[in-house]
Symmetry: C2
């Protein structure tokens, strides 16, 4: 085998840890260093480095996988790190993707680095299935359902309520709606008809549970447009039964041919660990970035710009022979 692809990680939360694990499953890759804003010595990992020293690794890392958050980390980090390294990020604030793209593309073209933004599964794999569906069945409808899985944002929102010690929120696709889509009826749904929100809440002792339940159910943007189920449980129950980060979902495209034949394309993810899966997508795309950069590409790209063969460690002729 040729030389291994040298990977760096920036940020060591759930996603960064997932990338570290995923690299172990890819024999053509090698983790060189993990960069953090925290004190590296506090983290008990020989690969941990302070982010201030990142420039020292300029020629030692092929692709830097950026594992910060989309709200404040990535809008600054990706263009900054793209000055020195090829990068992959999971920027997922849909409305700001065009601006993020332009910022990163400018730096990448100036400095000759290749940078893939908004990878993961949504945006990412789900986006790819949406484009595939509407390109192949131009007369039809696309539906995206999320879950069943834990929504970090909604869980955080519950925890901010006065009197709440801890909580988790599951987004649950409504089976009846899914079945209606699969039947080819091209239904239109209200927000409430597609997803249910199920909350498990640990309240402080003596709190008015009715008030908490009401505050959750009427919370604007998060819960008010949904049917929401609130279950009060103990701290132990939460820790024992809700400690995972499962997620997943469905992308469906239902279309009709000119003769009226109904056609359906469906893509399903069922994930026991959302951050570990997102990490494994970023790692596969890091391989593609390395290959495409070696082919002379630079600037900013997304999953729409990457030929699927680039994701694989196998050669084009192996892929044609074994997988096509």
């Amino acid at each position: 085998m040729s030389q291994k692809i040298k990977i760096g990680i920036v940020g060591y939360g759930n996603l960064g840890k997932g990338v570290e694990l995923s690299i172990n499953q890819n024999e053509d890759m090698e983790l060189i260093a993990i960069f953090t804003r925290r004190d590296p010595d506090s983290l008990n990992n020989p690969l941990m480095r302070n982010i201030k020293d990142i420039a020292d690794y300029k020629d030692k890392i092929d692709v830097m996988i950026l594992c910060g958050g989309s709200a404040t980390d990535l809008p600054e980090q990706t263009p900054e790190i793209a000055k020195m390294f090829n990068t992959v990020d999971s920027f997922d604030t849909h409305a700001n993707i065009p601006i993020h793209y332009d910022n990163v593309d400018k730096v990448g073209k100036e400095k000759g680095t290749l940078n893939l933004i908004s990878s993961g599964w949504d945006p990412g794999l789900f986006s790819m299935q949406r484009i595939l569906g509407e390109s192949i069945l131009p007369v039809g409808n696309t539906y995206t359902f999320w879950g069943e899985g834990v929504s970090q944002g909604h869980s955080d929102a519950i925890r901010r309520i006065d009197g709440v010690l801890d909580g988790k929120q599951y987004t649950v696709p409504i089976e009846k709606a899914l079945e209606k889509v699969r039947s080819g009826k091209n239904p239109e749904f209200t927000t409430r008809e597609k997803h249910l929100r199920v909350c498990y809440v640990v309240a402080k002792e003596g709190e008015d549970l009715e008030r908490i339940e009401n505050e959750i159910k009427t919370m604007p943007n998060y819960f008010d447009e949904y049917d929401t189920e609130v279950n009060f449980i103990t701290k132990e129950e939460l820790e024992n039964n809700h400690n995972g980060m499962p997620h997943g979902g469905y992308v469906l495209r239902t279309g009709q041919s000119e003769t009226g034949s109904k056609q359906r394309i469906e893509f399903v993810l069922e994930l026991e660990s959302n951050p570990e899966f997102t990490a494994s997508v970023l790692v596969a795309y890091a391989r593609a970035v390395k290959k495409m950069h070696s082919n002379g590409e630079d600037g900013c790209i997304t999953v729409f710009d990457v030929p699927l063969g680039m994701l694989s460690p196998k050669s084009p002729s192996e892929l044609r022979k074994e997988i096509l």
Copy 2:
């Protein structure tokens, strides 16, 4: 909108007719001519031309969609027509893909045409899902199930049996096997455990039905390794209840992260018309071939080499804004 993409069709069977219909659903495309070996005047279609006149269209067609069979037509036609035109074919004899690729690549590079082979849904969309699955979840298993749908090859095999007037064969994935895969048990299956074969047969009057049933069930390569169900019906029943060409199937990848989290990626097709769907895939890939040829690419490519954004009539920035 810029100029429409000019499409030609070679071969006017079920697939060619499907391509003709599919082009109507794509506003950025225009059907210029359909080439056939039959007498064009017999076909009552103003676009019909004799294949001998194909060279007259050299600068009038952007992409030629080749709708012949993989056994004898495409191995000759694709390299021949690639001398003058960009092409898309649905070559599906898996074992011969490497040879077909080399033949077409050589011509394409010499003549400056771009040619995408082995498009459709298997090979094609299913192959793409297989590569996606094994690249993202390198520790795991890939499963492909076909059906429920009509297998042309198996239906033909039934019809060749002495005493059979007509027949159709449905390939049916075994639900219990699918469920076992979804459970993440990484099962191994015998051929018999994955698919059931269900036959509807019209026998000549007075034939020994037991003999026919036995000949079907024991037919090597086609039926002997499967559980096969044979139903004798009337000509009218066959025409009324089995006149469609439905098909579909499943590609599943089940994997485990380093911590043991089970992850599943599943892709499903449910098609009322197999040839119309295959046609719509070829048409979307014809768009990609036109764009990539305009970018200066030539030779032979497969679905593994095409960035998904190329399939869409939308611009890269529209795609990032609307679909990512």
